[in-house]
């Protein structure tokens, strides 16, 4: 230690002792001082830490020194920390700024100045700038005006900046009075939030539009979700139920009903039930409620464990209408069954009535047929007899005058027969009992026969009748078609003056087209080949014609056209007749005016259309349309066609043995006379019994002729069948005896009968029996016999 002691210099050059002694004294004194100083210093050093005031000072000073040093270190560390903090803050994605209690920004990072577009100089203004800065921040964030005031401590606002960023400005109050602001770019969260919000909106929209009530309740029976339907049903404001207990919508009594369902669903089981509840309008509605538990699952190890439900989902459907309509449907069903039952009953009654009516109609029809059959039989029987007698008479008379009378009689009888046949035909048509027997046959052959048949009549009337031959075949009823054409021919002859012409021909195609062809005669007929499935049989005359007005009525019954020409015709015929007669033969038919009516009705029955085209004083064309068919080869048909034209020689049957059975004595007599005339030996009887008594041992005839209608309900077929046993036996006994053919004669000419006869191999002739036809048949039958 350097001291500044006032030591004497060691100038000891002075040699005198006193000086030396003085110097010694000085040194001693100095030494003593130094010793003392030394002592004091030692004391000081050793006394350090004692409780003296100076020690306290020394201690405090040392302490202070240490504190200073420590503080310096701390400040250094603090500065370093600050630097670190500054770096950290600068590297934050958030903008951060700190304002002191007076509102002046103390600190901010780069992000804050970037996001607010405020320079460091602007932010550093030493003024109470917080509000000002907030305004500019808020302006740059496009936040609504007034947000600065709304932005209270510890709150945040979000807004978008121009470049599409979304920022959140938050304000935090710190404990020392300063304020921390943060600016966060929340664009991503924002869009995510927006997406979430949008999907939440969607879900809400969907659930709100589902026509059902949807809710979710937690385990404490508090609402956590309700949809629009739910709120509407209970008449609460939208969303007002959230957080409310279930008792907010149900009264205690209703809750008691629901309680078991709550327990069930909160035990983890779904439950569905129906319940009646009143809606907000007070109407009672039937609700179908479903409670589904929200089972929270968690995993313990690999085991999934179900815990208590967190709550449950409620789905309610209003099934009031459904129930009502279901009930109504059931009611309707019951009603329907009832009505079906009633209708069925009504229908069966009607059916019954119809059946009854049909039965009555059938009965009526039956009786009409029987009546007609009886009438024709009863009328034709004597006529037949008369004709047979007349035929016999003609053969026995050689006197010319008598022969003329017989001939007249025969013609009159023929006319009467025709007249009767016409009347019966008409009646049959009228009664609807006329039966149609369709067959395929050669139209040409038929027309030939008919024209040949009418030729004498035409000759008599001095009218030229000509046929254009054809090879076509048709399908129709031969008899009925013949009747139609005969009527047309006889009409044509009747209404055609002497010297006129009649042409019969066939055209392919329908009559309407055929007519047009008649007009355009130059046109070749082959032009219609394509439509050849239909034919028109036409009868053209150059007669008086029919006025257009009259064309419709000529087909009506009992309508005749009376005109001068007719009178003239009558005069002409009378003049031509060599025999004076009050009733010309053909006028009997004319008088009735049934010809064209029969044509029309018969054609309708056959399905053949009949057309007429006519001009007064020029002539008429009558057409019958009928279907064409392909030709079929048939010998039988040819033969049948030849029958009427072949006449046989007298007495061709000499020695022929014939049995005749008929209940009408006049017929038997006439028949016996005729057959005897032809050289036959005849046994005739009126009944089976009489026959059996007459024939005695005679085993069999060459021919058996029986009338179908016998007395006492017996029929010719029954009799013939009975006799055929006898014939069979006889044939077995005698080698020269053969089974005779059987000819049945009947006024009834039905298909049933003919079918029956055909099956029995019996032959048939209709009444009245024309002698020519009988002879032809007999020749055929007995010829076969003789051939053997």
């Amino acid at each position: 230690m350097a001291t500044n002691l006032n030591l004497p210099s060691s100038n000891v050059q002075a040699a005198d002792a006193s000086a030396l002694a003085q110097e010694l004294e000085l040194l001693r004194a100095q030494n003593a001082k130094l010793k003392k100083i030394n002592q004091a210093l030692i004391e000081r050093v050793e006394a350090a830490g004692s409780a003296s005031p100076y020690a306290a000072f020394q201690h405090a000073a040392t302490l202070s020194e240490q504190v200073r040093e420590r503080t310096a270190l701390q400040q250094q560390a603090l500065a370093q920390k600050s630097l670190l903090l500054q770096h950290t803050v600068d590297n934050l994605a958030q903008g951060v700024a700190l304002a002191d209690p007076s509102g002046v920004f103390q600190l901010w990072n780069q992000q804050f100045s970037q996001l607010t577009s405020l320079s460091d100089e602007q932010l550093a203004q030493p003024i109470f700038a917080e509000q000002l800065l907030l305004q500019s921040v808020i302006a740059s964030l496009c936040l609504p005006a007034g947000t600065a005031q709304d932005l209270v401590a510890n709150s945040a606002v979000t807004g978008a900046v121009v470049d599409g960023k979304v920022l959140t400005l938050a304000r935090y109050q710190l404990s020392d009075g300063s304020t921390l602001f943060t600016l966060t770019d929340v664009s991503e969260q924002h869009s995510y939030t927006e997406t979430l919000r949008a999907s939440e909106r969607w879900i809400r929209t969907i659930t709100d539009h589902i026509p059902a009530m949807i809710a979710y309740l937690d385990a404490d029976l508090c609402f956590r979700f309700t949809n629009q339907g739910y709120d509407d049903f209970y008449g609460v404001e939208r969303g007002a139920l959230l957080g409310m207990p279930i008792s907010a919508v149900h009264q205690a009594s209703a809750l008691v009903q629901l309680q078991p369902h709550f327990q069930k669903v909160l035990a983890g089981q779904s439950t569905v039930f129906e319940i009646d509840e009143n809606n907000s309008a007070g109407e009672t509605r039937c609700l179908l409620k479903s409670y589904v538990p929200n089972l929270a699952s968690h995993f313990v190890g690999d085991l999934k464990q179900d815990t208590q439900p967190l709550g449950f989902f409620v789905l309610i459907r209003d099934i009031t209408e459904r129930k009502q309509s279901s009930a109504a449907l059931q009611q309707a069903n019951l009603m329907l069954e009832q009505r079906v039952l009633e209708r069925t009953q009504a229908l069966s009654e009607v059916n019954q009535q119809l059946l009854q009516a049909k039965k009555i109609a059938e009965q009526a029809n039956q009786s009409k047929s029987q009546f007609l059959a009886a009438i024709s039989h009863d009328l034709l029987q004597p006529l037949n007899a008369a004709r047979l007698f007349n035929a016999t008479l003609a053969e026995q008379t050689s006197n010319a005058k008598s022969l003329q009378l017989v001939d007249s009689t025969a013609r009159s009888l023929e006319n009467v027969a025709q007249l009767l046949a016409t009347l019966v035909d008409m009646s049959r048509l009228e009664a609807g009992v006329q039966q149609v027997e369709l067959s395929k046959f050669s139209l040409g052959r038929l027309l030939q026969d008919l024209v040949a048949e009418a030729q004498p009549q035409a000759h008599q009337a001095k009218v030229t009748l000509r046929l254009v031959s054809t090879k076509l075949w048709v399908q129709s009823d031969v008899t009925l078609l013949s009747r139609i054409l005969r009527n047309l021919l006889s009409n044509a002859i009747r209404y055609t003056p002497a010297g006129g012409k009649i042409l019969v021909g066939v055209r392919r195609g329908r009559a309407s087209q055929a007519e047009s062809l008649i007009r355009a005669t130059s046109r070749p007929s082959s032009a219609l080949g394509s439509q050849a499935s239909w034919l028109s049989v036409q009868v053209l005359d150059t007669g008086v014609g029919i006025a257009e007005d009259d064309q419709a009525i000529i087909f009506q019954e009992f309508k005749r056209l009376v005109r001068p020409t007719l009178q003239k015709q009558l005069e002409k015929r009378q003049a031509n007749s060599e025999v004076t007669s009050k009733l010309p033969s053909d006028l009997a038919n004319d008088g009735l005016g049934l010809g064209l009516a029969i044509v029309k009705k018969t054609a309708a029955l056959l399905g053949h259309a009949v057309h007429v085209r006519s001009q007064l004083a020029r002539g008429s064309v009558f057409s019958v349309e009928l279907p064409q068919v392909h030709q079929i080869a048939s010998v039988a048909a040819d033969k049948a066609a030849q029958l009427s034209t072949e006449l046989l020689l007298l007495k061709p049957f000499a020695g022929t043995h014939i049995w005749v059975v008929d209940n009408d004595l006049a017929i038997i007599t006439a028949m016996q006379a005729l057959l005897t005339q032809w050289g036959c030996s005849v046994i005739s009887a009126q009944s089976e019994r009489e026959l059996l008594s007459l024939i005695k041992d005679d085993p069999s005839p060459d021919l058996l002729i029986v009338d179908q209608q016998l007395a006492d309900g017996e029929t010719g077929t029954e009799l013939a069948k009975a006799l055929s046993n006898r014939f069979t036996n006889a044939a077995a006994k005698h080698a020269n005896v053969r089974i005779p053919p059987v000819l049945v004669i009947s006024a009834e000419n039905s298909a049933d009968l003919r079918a029956e006869l055909a099956s029995l191999r019996f032959h048939f002739l209709p009444k009245p029996v024309a002698p020519v036809k009988l002879k032809a048949l007999m020749m055929n039958l007995l010829g076969q016999v003789s051939a053997k």
Partner: protein, 387 residues
């Protein structure tokens, strides 16, 4: 304004108190005053003054002490009273008067600090502690050490009361009464930024004196370098003992070095036996360094200027200024510039018989606290304010 300043030269205690009160209340029209601190010349009629202040300020808590000179708005002053008002909105001040200084140990100190903290309550902001001590009690070192130990990191400053160089009795005012042999401890909680500081302008010379005989309890040094202390001190300065006076002491201070610091040990007086009485604790073996004075005002201005950037505009600087510094200023005729400096930094305070800084008893320093308005030049830095 959160702090209000006033002073009076009126000698009549009643009038003086009235003037101070009206001045403070006029300034504090908008903000109620929660606490008043005053420094008064020791030559007032203290009992009367006590009554007058008690009546004038009524409910407001008032603390003060006698001085060896005041620093008012006009600079150094004498025979006056300076009073400071603290707005309730910015300050919460807790105060405790300790009368039994000899018994003030660490335990006591801890109790006092706890009590102060409770009183100061939960006002936000920061805390500093100010101590006012009887400047002639010779208990400063022990009391301050105990207090410092209890305060921990809380900044602390203070001053020892004076008595106008009479060196007889110094007083502390607390709850309407003046005390001796006592200490008043104040805990300030404030929202304002502040800095506690201490500065001195002396530099170490080369001459050393070793205390070879001293009475530690009475702060008397009998011998320096084994010679009568006054003689040794006068020899060092090249003066006769008779020439030694307060001005010489002020201009030629001695200091003790602890660690890196030199702590001034100011001489109070020369005794008849050529011993020296000091303002602070002395002990045998202390090595005293003769100090060279520098430019006191420049040093102070420099220190105060260092503080302002962190505090903003100074609202108030409470200065505990050593009585010897006032003597130096007077001797060097620096009163004018000193006043200017004080006005610039809003310095009010008093001349002490010793300063307190973070538990250390100092001499011949300017120690105090500066309160700023906090309206700083903000800058982009996280470095906070304070200190």
């Amino acid at each position: 304004m959160p702090v209000f300043r006033s002073s009076t030269n009126l000698r009549d205690p009643q009038l003086a108190a009235a003037e101070l009160t009206s001045s403070l209340l006029a300034q504090a029209a908008a903000e109620p005053i929660g606490f008043v601190l005053f420094f008064c010349a020791a030559d007032y009629a203290l009992p009367e003054l006590a009554d007058a202040l008690k009546n004038s300020f009524a409910e407001v808590q008032v603390v003060g002490c006698t001085t060896a000179g005041e620093i008012s708005q006009v600079g150094y002053a004498d025979h006056s009273i300076v009073a400071l008002g603290f707005a309730r909105g910015h300050f919460q001040v807790a105060s405790i008067c300790v009368t039994d200084l000899a018994q003030f140990d660490l335990i006591k100190a801890q109790q006092v600090v706890e009590q102060l903290k409770r009183q100061a309550g939960a006002v936000s902001g920061q805390t500093f502690v100010m101590t006012l001590l009887d400047g002639l009690s010779a208990q400063e070192e022990l009391v301050l050490l105990a207090l410092e130990s209890a305060l921990g990191a809380i900044p602390h400053f203070g001053g020892s009361a004076g008595d106008n160089h009479q060196l007889r009795r110094t007083h502390l005012y607390f709850q309407g009464q003046f005390y001796t042999q006592a200490a008043v401890m104040l805990m300030f909680q404030t929202t304002l930024p502040f800095a506690v500081f201490s500065t001195q302008h002396l530099t170490a010379g080369t001459d050393k004196l070793v205390v070879t005989s001293a009475s530690p309890q009475s702060r008397v040094v009998h011998e320096l370098n084994a010679e009568p202390a006054a003689l040794a001190y006068a020899d060092l300065l090249g003066l006769s003992v008779a020439e030694l006076d307060a001005t010489v002491f002020a201009l030629n201070p001695l200091a003790v070095r602890i660690g890196q610091e030199y702590y001034i040990r100011s001489i109070q007086k020369v005794n008849a036996d050529l011993s020296l009485t000091f303002y602070c604790a002395m002990a045998n073996g202390m090595v005293l360094t003769a100090m060279q004075p520098g430019d006191m005002l420049a040093d102070l201005a420099n220190k105060l200027n260092q503080l302002t950037p962190a505090l903003g505009l100074p609202l108030l600087t409470i200065g505990c200024d050593c009585v010897l510094r006032k003597i130096e200023v007077a001797k060097l005729a620096l009163a004018e510039p000193a006043a200017e400096l004080f006005q610039k930094f809003k310095v009010l305070g008093f001349n002490t018989y010793g300063e307190h800084f973070n538990g250390v008893h100092l001499n011949q320093t300017f120690t105090g606290v500066m309160l700023g308005d906090g309206n700083l030049l903000a800058k982009p830095s996280v470095t906070g304010h304070g200190n």
